[in-house]
């Protein structure tokens, strides 16, 4: 009797996840194998049509674009987040700085994207500034292209990358860097050979926290992206609300889920085998 008590504690969250995560996902998977209704919705008849449509060229191209944009955004986010997290972990004002990292969460996400539109728009802040100082003679198109999507994605996920990196670096024993320097490592060698491997868990978390949501992002490409920067999230929304092809949008969502899961598994596998290679060369 006693040892089942843990299961009892886990019951509320277990119910929550089952009701609001497992059940919807199952519904999506089931819908993707049904026939589309005339005015949206589904008809309960098995069909493989949605998956046949999935394989058309424009959708595959969108999938590639999505992967490409999410990857670029993740890499750049990591590059920015690492030094920031390092600085915060070493700073005397770390609590204040952490608060500053979290502050964007206080405002609605959509409002923050509109703020970016105000900054990057044709009559926006950036253009006015560059025209004023004479760096530009005619306003530039910062918005509605891939770059705008990447910039806003980076902005959106930077805190999610900084926080796990900060946690990892904060736990890192800085005397290891001194030891590395003492043993003959130059500054960059010490960082690459000692710091990075020891905060690998933080880097992995930061990558996953950035890449997974960026891969499924819908609002950002919708609002600041152009025609050539559609992402899968945008297409799902379009199929659901405009074209009203529910099986197709379910199929895309299912494919997205499966791709993300596979991607994460491969990434974690690579990460682990990287650790094993170090062990094996020894």
């Amino acid at each position: 009797m006693r040892k089942n008590i843990g299961a009892l504690y886990a019951f509320p969250i277990g119910m929550w996840i089952t009701l609001f995560f497992a059940v919807p996902i199952t519904i999506i998977f089931i819908y993707s194998f049904l026939t589309k209704g005339l005015y949206g919705g589904v008809v309960a008849r098995f069909s493989f049509e949605a998956y046949r449509e999935l394989c058309n060229e424009s959708l595959l191209r969108t999938a590639l674009t999505t992967f490409y944009l999410a990857t670029i955004a993740t890499i750049l986010t990591l590059v920015l987040a690492l030094p920031a997290a390092y600085y915060i972990a070493c700073s005397r004002y770390r609590n204040t700085l952490l608060l500053l990292v979290i502050i964007p969460f206080w405002t609605n996400f959509l409002i923050r994207i509109y703020a970016w539109i105000a900054i990057l728009g044709n009559n926006g802040f950036l253009n006015s500034l560059l025209l004023r100082i004479g760096a530009l003679h005619h306003y530039a198109h910062f918005l509605y292209n891939k770059y705008a999507v990447v910039i806003v994605l980076m902005y959106t996920y930077l805190p999610y990358a900084i926080l796990p990196l900060y946690t990892a670096i904060e736990k890192f024993d800085f005397s290891l860097l001194e030891a590395a320097r003492d043993l003959g490592a130059a500054r960059t060698q010490a960082v690459v050979r000692v710091l990075l491997p020891n905060i690998k868990a933080g880097i992995t978390t930061a990558v996953l926290f950035t890449f997974i949501p960026a891969f499924g992002q819908y609002a950002v490409p919708q609002l600041v992206g152009g025609r050539n920067s559609f992402m899968l999230g945008t297409v799902i929304a379009r199929e659901l609300t405009v074209t009203r092809n529910w099986p197709l949008s379910s199929a895309i969502a299912a494919a997205l889920t499966i791709m993300t899961t596979l991607g994460v598994l491969v990434f974690m596998r690579l990460n682990r085998s990287a650790g094993e290679t170090i062990r094996e060369t020894a």
Binding site: A180, R181, D182, G184, A185, V194, K200, A282
Partner: protein
């Protein structure tokens, strides 16, 4: 508690022993005499008998070094010179600046003023990775993501040595610290003593000119500490480079060092051989810090050359030797080691030329195995006396016990004046 400074070392080695000869079964009878462990009392000064021409390493000179952290002055003008191949200790209580000094030599910090030279050349312009010194950290600072083998190989991998030479060198150094069978383990799987040995091998594989050790044994338990101390001494004999050893443990320092620098509050108080430090402390702090001692204070009533007679209020009159100049009426602070005081129930056992003799009562006895600590109340002073148990037999068969009236005594020459206060 204090032992006379005894170090276990390899005796009779005219050439330093290679580690191979230690780790292998002894091949020839001729070598036998070299590998017998023997006791030697107080380590010899460097170069006295163990082949001065074999000394490696570099001379480390610290000149007028100061270091300030904001308003706090961690080092207040420290100067000393460590000889080639010497085992030199920096000894002092925590916060005395000894670790700061070591960090300056290693290059982790820059001195505020002053100079640090290796073999005469200033190393201040060099970053720590360009200095030919390596450090064994108190926390070991082993790389947790690398195996024992890779930790030791780390400096060689940076130098882009060939795979074969790296394997050969790492195997050699792992054998030296007897960790061959742990080469594939990770630091988290090692015991404290094993981690310590990895740290030593890793610091030595670069073949530094000097090895800096920052309280390397502080995290080990007492038994292991004794063992590692002997091992460190052996390694020092084998590699023959300069060792600078930072510790707050006076026993560690005096049992392995050639010379010891006693530090307090950012200054060096005394530099000398362990015997000098122990028997002729330069001042009251050193006397109190090194071993246990009795501090007595009295005023000079008669003076005859270096010998003086002093009256200790409430105790009596005693004769003391002094290297310092004293005058009649001066107040003397002198120290007498507990193990130099004789103890008996019969006054006749104490008597003799130059013997001070006082009468007191046994207030407390602490039995600690190989000796007993007696606390003898004389007037309003309590003297500590350490005796081995064999002494019991001297006093007519009955052991001295609580509340016994006893006589204590010591040679005038065994008391040492550490401070003269003019009144």
């Amino acid at each position: 508690m204090h032992f006379p400074p005894i170090a276990l070392s390899l005796a009779g080695s005219d050439a330093p022993l290679r580690w191979r000869e230690i780790s292998r079964p002894i091949p020839k009878i001729k070598c036998l005499s070299k590998t017998i462990f023997s006791l030697r009392v107080a380590p010899d000064p460097p170069g006295s008998e163990e082949g001065a021409n074999d000394l490696k390493g570099c001379q480390v000179t610290v000149e007028n070094v100061t270091k300030s952290f904001g308003a706090f002055q961690a080092l207040k003008g420290v100067s000393f010179s460590v000889q080639k191949g010497e085992f030199f200790s920096l000894l002092g209580p925590s916060g005395c600046g000894k670790t700061t000094l070591l960090r300056l030599i290693a290059g982790f910090d820059d001195p505020t003023t002053g100079d640090i030279r290796l073999d005469g050349a200033s190393v201040l312009p060099l970053p720590s990775n360009k200095r030919h010194v390596n450090t064994v950290f108190q926390s070991y600072a082993l790389f947790p993501h690398l195996s024992v083998f890779e930790n030791v190989a780390f400096p060689l991998r940076l130098k882009k040595k060939t795979k074969r030479s790296i394997h050969a060198a790492v195997d050699e150094y792992l054998a030296m610290v007897r960790l061959e069978e742990h080469r594939d383990k990770f630091p988290s799987q090692l015991s404290g003593g094993q981690k310590q040995r990895v740290a030593i091998a890793r610091a030595l594989i670069n073949e530094p000119e000097a090895l800096l050790l920052d309280e390397p044994l502080a995290a080990l338990d007492a038994k292991l500490r004794q063992h590692m101390l002997i091992e460190l001494d052996t390694i020092h004999d084998n590699v023959g480079i300069t060792f600078i050893y930072v510790t707050h443990d006076q026993q560690e320092a005096i049992s392995v060092s050639d010379r010891v620098a006693v530090m307090n509050e950012g200054a060096v108080l005394q530099i000398g051989t362990p015997r000098e430090i122990y028997e002729k402390p330069a001042d009251l702090f050193v006397a109190r810090f090194i071993g246990e001692t009795n501090i007595l204070e009295g005023s000079v009533i008669r003076k005859n050359g270096s010998r003086a007679e002093a009256t200790i209020p409430g105790v009596g009159t005693v004769a003391v030797e002094s290297g310092k100049s004293i005058a009649q009426g001066n107040n003397l602070v002198f120290t007498i080691r507990p193990e130099k005081i004789a103890l008996s129930r019969e006054k006749a056992d104490i008597a003799g030329d130059d013997m001070n003799c006082l009468q007191g009562v046994v207030e407390e006895i602490i039995y600690i195995g190989f000796l007993s600590k007696y606390f003898i109340r004389i007037g309003d002073t309590t003297l500590r006396v350490f005796r081995q148990h064999a002494d019991h037999q001297l006093s007519g068969g009955r052991a001295i016990t609580w509340h016994d009236p006893v006589y204590v005594g010591w040679h005038a020459g065994d008391a040492f004046v550490v401070e003269v206060r003019e009144t």
